[in-house]
Symmetry: C2
Subunit: 545 residues, 2 copies
């Protein structure tokens, strides 16, 4: 039984486009001899559609597109993910996260997702009613269990046992020969490896081969990494599709034999590929073809520029270097060196004159009060005006370049360097920014080594260094991982060996800067807990712990 | 049985402060002769705590505070809302939305919320596991049913039947003499009236008096309006507590007789009171004591200033009027007239010089391209720099003044007039802005009549008027209500008599500007569907319908 795995990149709400993508992949699989083709979760819709499903014509148009797709399918069945109505007379949520088995011009079977993740970045109980039974589908003498994403995530891989049902066990009890799974499982660091272990375990437990088809591509803050899998009935990996790229593959899971399909990329490479895919999809799915960004001579903007140039082509990346009276000449030189290495255009626009004009404007109001952080922010905000002017005049999407460590403690200027349509590396802690940058330079200098090696500085006052204000980044990132990702208390973090004053300072800064992050550009999630849709903190609150 | 209703204003995560507020209200009720005291949903925690509950020490500290409270209670029981752990060995969410019956130094009973709203602004299935039985509490010869908020919202008042359980029916079947409800039910226009009808219906159906204790105060984007209620066993209103203010009241529901407790405030008054409370709580709970804002001479900034002066006192509101080369002298005069009427300080800071400096800075890049929206945005962003400078230098929270209509269609400048910590009237459609402003002026001119009556203009180019770009506000707001609040398709809106070209223009503008709203300041929700936490649209999407 040759199964085609269509690891496709859907666009949210683009029913005609997604139907075309699905059909193209289906036909590619047919050419490869497929006897059954499987696509990712909500492949016809794009994941996650969020509140679009509440629009009065969203699900009706989805069902129209499904009918159209069904009409294109003959004897080789296609499994496609879509959103269905829940029965209007039954209590519960109005919709189903569904899969349709299309065959001979019709929807032959409908499958409802049973386990609905409602944690972290997922909100499925907001929209969907769970399925209440899982029936194997008999086809060509085999009994096939069809599941959707979370349905196969056993509690060993969840933060706590969440569900009182186990769809794989239910299917196994009814007797299956093969388990299929349609997924839209977003990337974070370590997730591809975790999935392999989880899926292998499922196959061993159910004693059947597993075909796992994952989405690829980025939608808003989520990057889907593909890495679709096939295991034999002993949980051994027989096939793995590409990471971070569209791919179709045809394989017979019953004839599959273990192959050495290593996941040998390092963290830096995975992070880099996820961010390149994230930028490409965000920019192009939004209808832009080019971006602009500020180049400071520092490592954050350099890394962002490298990612953008890879994602969109260097001709579609435009840099501005905007020295203030406190910028070093070296920073401007480093920016031009980077631009030259990448082949992107960079212009120099000094802000001194505009900065003086703004200061003079406020002079009568400030009545001789000394300069302070106000004037530092003015510089960052003037740069934002210039970048947004370039974005407006030439129709570039502005990328913002801040990293996760500074966003965490608010070492960034709202309406200044935080401005932009996409915060490319906002989920990369500063230590990871260095790690990825060194990986980029592994063969030759792309990011000027001077940028990588000099002490980081915002250059908003004379001789300023990040470490005048912040703890060393190794320590800061260590504390942030425990506080933000693991949600430990200050006491618990101190007990792991960190200095108490530093821990409490970091904690207070993270809490106080929630309001800035509320207005931050969307970022691309690459760790297990990003700032963004998966972390929903109140701004007005007084908890300390 | 005299019951004390403690309609209090909790601060999220402020366990010591909330415990004090609860005890103060409890003692006030004791002095009024209360034999049992009830507080709102999650009164010890503040609603909604959101992801704070995942912090490792949040629930433990909540339980400590509950123990402390219990220790302060003698023979008069106190019902308090808190977050409990779910049983660690049982599958499901880690927490419970709970109420504790404190009596004689101990927690005598624990009640779990059964129906967990997971729609609109609510995310309870993200955190909480529902209760699986509701047992009446026997006390002083009466059987009391204790419920939490959604538990009494019957399906007639929901968008569709959501739940397969009915806690009130379950309690009724077991026999009750009285129904108590602890609520944190946020305000939107019409909600107080809706609640009265719903609670009256519940009392009639269960044939028992109902005591409904609602929270008051604002937390982030939600304003809780209080309006706690007591009905007799025929559903007739016997008592209603204040709207938009703390209050304690003691009443015997078994001796209650129908009273004429009218809800006679008009929409404008409710909206105004909700926003005043919202601003006061947002600013003071964040630890600020003063605000600043830009005064344009237009009606949006004028209304925002009136609300702020009422919320915080005129001495705590600081205005800047920042004329550009395109501003009329009348706008500056109107701003000063408003400031005089309110008793707030206002300074004039012309932006011409800084505007020229910024334009000159970009001249070499723009190479003689004609002026366009770029230069309009520059002015708005320069004003933001000046306002943020004032905010930084003098520690005011900056209020942003945009209304819902312009936020919907993106007729506003991101990083410009959208800057601020709180978007005070961002859920007021422009037609409502006029309605509330006229209500404010009902007895004497507070907002200069010239501001109310002149055609609205952004004054970013010569002789600009809003209606050069936008449909008349009556039409725009009509379309927006159908498109944003009711989520109808363009076809459906056209079928209600609106011009098709206009409808499709509005639809496209709303969809295209999702990215701006993603970075908008939090607003105060006063309609049934605000931009903000209750509306979660993807940015990257292509659905048109």
């Amino acid at each position: 039984m040759k199964i085609g795995i269509a690891q496709i990149n859907s666009v949210i709400g683009d029913f005609p486009g997604n139907a075309k993508r699905i059909l193209a992949a289906y036909r590619e699989c047919l050419e490869g001899g497929a006897e059954l083709v499987v696509t990712p979760e909500l492949s016809l819709v794009g994941y996650p559609p969020r509140d679009l499903v509440f629009k009065s014509q969203f699900v009706p148009k989805c069902l129209q597109a499904l009918d159209y797709l069904a009409g294109e399918i003959r004897e080789v069945p296609l499994l496609v993910g879509y959103v269905d109505h829940h029965h209007p007379a039954h209590p519960g949520k109005p919709f189903r996260n569904a899969a349709a088995w299309l065959e001979n011009g019709k929807v032959q079977h409908r499958i409802w997702k049973t386990l609905l993740p409602t944690y972290d970045v997922f909100d499925e109980r907001r929209y969907f009613e769970p399925g209440d039974s899982s029936e194997p589908i008999s086809w060509r003498g085999k009994r096939i269990g069809v599941t959707i994403c979370e349905d196969i995530w056993t509690e060993d891989y969840l933060q706590r046992p969440l569900y009182d049902r186990d769809p794989v066990e239910e299917l196994s009890a009814k007797g299956i020969d093969l388990l299929l799974n349609l997924s839209a499982s977003p990337f974070h660091l370590g997730k591809p490896l975790l999935r392999r272990a989880m899926i292998g375990g499922i196959a061993r437990k159910a004693k059947v081969p597993v075909v796992y088809c994952n989405a690829v591509g980025a939608n808003d803050q989520l990057v889907f990494d593909g890495h679709s899998l096939v295991t034999d009935g002993n949980g051994r990996i027989a096939e793995q599709l590409a990471g971070f790229a569209d791919e179709c593959e045809v394989i017979d899971p019953f004839l599959a034999v273990e192959r050495d399909v290593p996941l040998d990329s390092c963290d830096a490479e995975d992070l880099y590929k996820a961010l390149v895919l994230g930028v490409r999809d965000y920019v192009t799915k939004c209808g832009f073809s080019s971006v602009c960004l500020g180049l400071s001579g520092g490592i954050d903007s350099a890394l962002t520029a490298v990612i953008a140039a890879d994602a969109l082509g260097p001709e579609n990346v435009r840099g501005l270097t905007m020295p203030s009276p406190y910028s070093s000449r070296g920073s401007v030189d480093d920016s031009f060196a980077l631009a030259k290495n990448l082949g992107i255009r960079c212009d120099e626009v000094p802000i001194r004159h505009a900065f003086e004009a703004v200061k003079a404007t406020m002079e009568p109001i400030f009545e001789g009060k000394p300069e302070d952080v106000t004037e530092e922010n003015m510089q960052a905000r003037l740069r934002a005006i210039l970048l947004m002017a370039l974005s407006n005049k030439e129709n570039h999407l502005l990328l913002t370049t801040g990293n996760k460590s500074e966003l965490a403690v608010g070492y960034c200027t709202i309406y200044g360097d935080m401005c932009g349509g996409l915060a490319v590396i906002s989920d990369l802690p500063k230590t990871r920014v260095y790690e990825v940058s060194r990986w980029i330079n592994r063969e030759r200098e792309i990011i000027p080594w001077n940028t990588v090696e000099k002490p980081p500085s915002a250059e908003l006052r004379p001789d300023q260094k990040d470490q005048d204000t912040l703890p060393p980044y190794e320590i800061l990132d260590g504390i942030l991982e425990l506080y933000v990702e693991h949600q430990l208390s200050a006491d618990e973090i101190v007990s792991r060996g960190f200095d108490e004053t530093t821990v409490r300072w970091v904690q207070r800064r993270v809490d106080l800067n929630e309001w800035k992050r509320h207005q931050a550009a969307p970022g691309l999630r690459v760790t297990s807990k990003a700032f963004g849709i998966g972390r929903r903190m109140p701004i007005v609150q007084r908890f300390v712990g």
